[in-house]
C-alpha cells in the first residue's frame, strides 16, 4: 500500500476543503477502497474519511425517503420504512456481501465501488483499460463468465457488482451531490456510465465532488417490489444475474412496472424496453417472457457468458410472475 495522509471530516464543507489536497479520495467503510489500495490499484495520496457525515434516514416532505451517504448498508436494510415502503432495497442489500461487510459499507461507498473483474485486480499479469487506459482488455477474450452481455464495448466488458444499486435504479432514486461549485442532483440511472472508449471513467462525478444523500421518491408501486439474485453459491457471492422489479396490476393487466438488472452490464441496467412492452398488457408468463426478450434483443454474449441471456430472461419472468401472484 502506498503512503497517504488521513483526515476525518465532520461536515460536508470540511470534506470538500480537505479533498482539494493532491490525490485525495473520499473514504467510506473502506471495504473496497482499502482492498484496492493494498493491491496498489488505487493509490490515493490523501484519504478524507466521510463516515462522520450524514447517515440519517428521514422522510421527505414529498413523502419519500432521504438517506445520508454515510448510512451503513445494514442500517438501510433494517430500517422500518425501507422494509415496508421500498422492500426491493432492503432485499437487495441483504443479498449483498456478508453481515460483517454490510456493517462497514456505506451507501455512498457502495455506489462508488469498482468492478470485481479479475483482470482489473490482476495488476501483475493482465491488461486492463480501466486500470491502465489504452492498455487493452484481457477479459474480452479471457475467462469472462461473470462479464457483461449488455452495453459493453471492445474496451471493457466488466460488470458493476452492486446489488443495492440495482434497487436504486428501479426506484427512480436521485443522487444529491456537492462540490466547491455548488450542489446538483443527478437521476440515479444517469450516475453510472457505460464503458465506451473510457472505461476508467465510471460515473458522472466530477473531481472533488461528494455524494451527500440519495433520495427515494414516493411511489406506491415500490411497496410491491422485490429482488432476486442468481449466483454460484446460495450466499456471499456476486450476482451472475439479478433482477429488481416492482409491479402494479389492474384487473389482471399490468398497470405499471419497474424493472432493472444486475450482473449484466457496466452499470445497473434499467430495463425500460421491457417496462414499455408490459404496460397495459395481460400479466401472463408469456408476456413477461416476451418483455424480457425485448430487453435482451441486443444482448451480446462473450465466449463464456452466453448462459446469462437465457438466465436473465427466465429470472425476469419468474420475478414478475411472483409479484403478479402476490398482487392477485
Amino acid at each position: 500500500m502506498n503512503p497517504f495522509t488521513y483526515a476525518r471530516a465532520e461536515q460536508a464543507e470540511d470534506a470538500l476543503k480537505l479533498a482539494e489536497a493532491q490525490g485525495a479520495r473520499f473514504l467510506g467503510g473502506g471495504t473496497n477502497l482499502v482492498d484496492l489500495m493494498r493491491e496498489t490499484i488505487e493509490r490515493p495520496q490523501s484519504l478524507v474519511d466521510v463516515t462522520g457525515l450524514s447517515a440519517a434516514i428521514e422522510e421527505t416532505s414529498a413523502g419519500g425517503l432521504r438517506i445520508g451517504a454515510a448510512a451503513r448498508n445494514s442500517a438501510v436494510a433494517e430500517h422500518r420504512l425501507v422494509r415496508t415502503l421500498y422492500p426491493v432495497l432492503s432485499r437487495a442489500l441483504l443479498a449483498g456481501a456478508s453481515g460483517q461487510i454490510r456493517n462497514m459499507a456505506t451507501l455512498g461507498g457502495n455506489i462508488m465501488q469498482r468492478t470485481r473483474c479479475a483482470y482489473f485486480y490482476d495488476d501483475d499479469g493482465s491488461r486492463c483499460n480501466k486500470r491502465t487506459p489504452g492498455q487493452g482488455c484481457d477479459a474480452a477474450e479471457g475467462f469472462n463468465r461473470y462479464h457483461a452481455i449488455l452495453g459493453a464495448s471492445p474496451s471493457c466488458v466488466a460488470t458493476h457488482a452492486s446489488d443495492m444499486c440495482v434497487a436504486l435504479a428501479v426506484l427512480d432514486a436521485v443522487i444529491h451531490l456537492r462540490s466547491p461549485r455548488g450542489e446538483r442532483t443527478v437521476p440515479f440511472v444517469d450516475f453510472h456510465r457505460l464503458p465506451g472508449e473510457t472505461p476508467q471513467v465510471e460515473t458522472v462525478l466530477e473531481p472533488g465532488e461528494l455524494i451527500l444523500t440519495v433520495e427515494l421518491p414516493a411511489n406506491p408501486i415500490a411497496k410491491r417490489s422485490t429482488y432476486r439474485k442468481v449466483r454460484d453459491r446460495s450466499s456471499y457471492a456476486f450476482a451472475l444475474v439479478s433482477v429488481a422489479a416492482a409491479l402494479e396490476l389492474d384487473g389482471g393487466k399490468v398497470k405499471d412496472v419497474r424493472l432493472a438488472l444486475g450482473g449484466v452490464a457496466h452499470k445497473p441496467w434499467r430495463a425500460l424496453r421491457a417496462e414499455e412492452a408490459l404496460r397495459g398488457r395481460e400479466a401472463t408468463p408469456e408476456n413477461f417472457r416476451a418483455a424480457a426478450g425485448a430487453e435482451l434483443i441486443d444482448a451480446k454474449p462473450l465466449r463464456y457468458n452466453a448462459f446469462k441471456i437465457e438466465l436473465a430472461a427466465r429470472t425476469i419472468t419468474a420475478v414478475l410472475q411472483e409479484l403478479a401472484e402476490e398482487a392477485q
Binding site: P3, T5, A77, E78, T84, L94, S235
Partner: protein, 167 residues
C-alpha cells in the same frame, strides 16, 4: 491513536496504512484474530466494534480510533469461557481452529442483530417485528465466515444451542 481494546485503553503510534487486524496482531500481541485472506473474503479476522461485527483486515486502524474493539481474547468473562466457546468444544465446531475466533465473534454480533430484529436474505416477511433464528437463518447470517475444514454442521449446532430458542 487511541482505542479501547477488550476493555483496556490502548495508545499506539503506528503507520497510517496499518489495518485494525495488523494493529491487533503485530502491535498489541493479540494473535487470536486471524489473517486468512486479508481481502475480506473469509471472515477469520472478524472482531466486534462497539458490539457490531466487522472485518478487521479491511478496516484501517485510524478509522476506528476511540471505538471499543472486542476480540476473541475479550470474549470470556471473569476467567469463564463464553457459553458459545463452550458450545464450540461440545459440538466439535472446528477441526484446525483457524476460523474459530472469527466464527465466535461473528456469531455474537449476528445474535445481537437478530435480537434487535434485523432481517436477512432468508427472512420471508420483511415487515415482521421479531426474527426467529432457525438453522437456515444461522447459515445465511454466518455465510461471511468460511471454514475450509468444513466443520459447518458443528458450528451451526454450537451457535444454535446458544442462540436459537428450542422449538
Amino acid at each position: 491513536m487511541r482505542f479501547l481494546i477488550n476493555g483496556q485503553p490502548v495508545e499506539v503510534d503506528v503507520d497510517m496504512r496499518t489495518s485494525l487486524l495488523d494493529l491487533l496482531r503485530d502491535h498489541l500481541n493479540l494473535h487470536g484474530s486471524k489473517k486468512g485472506c486479508n481481502q475480506g473474503a473469509c471472515g477469520a479476522c472478524t472482531v466486534l466494534a462497539d458490539g457490531e461485527r466487522i472485518l478487521s483486515c479491511l478496516a484501517l486502524a485510524v478509522q476506528y480510533q476511540g471505538r471499543e474493539i472486542t476480540t476473541i481474547e475479550g470474549i470470556a468473562e471473569d476467567g469463564q469461557m463464553h457459553p458459545l466457546q463452550r458450545a464450540f468444544i461440545e459440538h466439535d465446531g472446528f477441526q484446525c481452529g483457524y476460523c474459530t475466533p472469527g466464527q465466535i465473534c461473528s456469531a455474537i454480533g449476528m445474535a445481537a442483530e437478530a435480537k434487535r430484529g434485523m432481517p436477512s436474505h432468508m427472512t420471508r416477511d420483511l415487515g415482521a417485528e421479531f426474527i426467529t433464528l432457525d438453522r437456515h437463518e444461522v447459515r445465511e447470517r454466518m455465510s461471511g465466515n468460511i471454514c475450509r475444514c468444513g466443520a459447518y454442521n458443528g458450528i451451526v449446532n454450537a451457535i444454535s444451542e446458544v442462540f436459537v430458542e428450542a422449538e
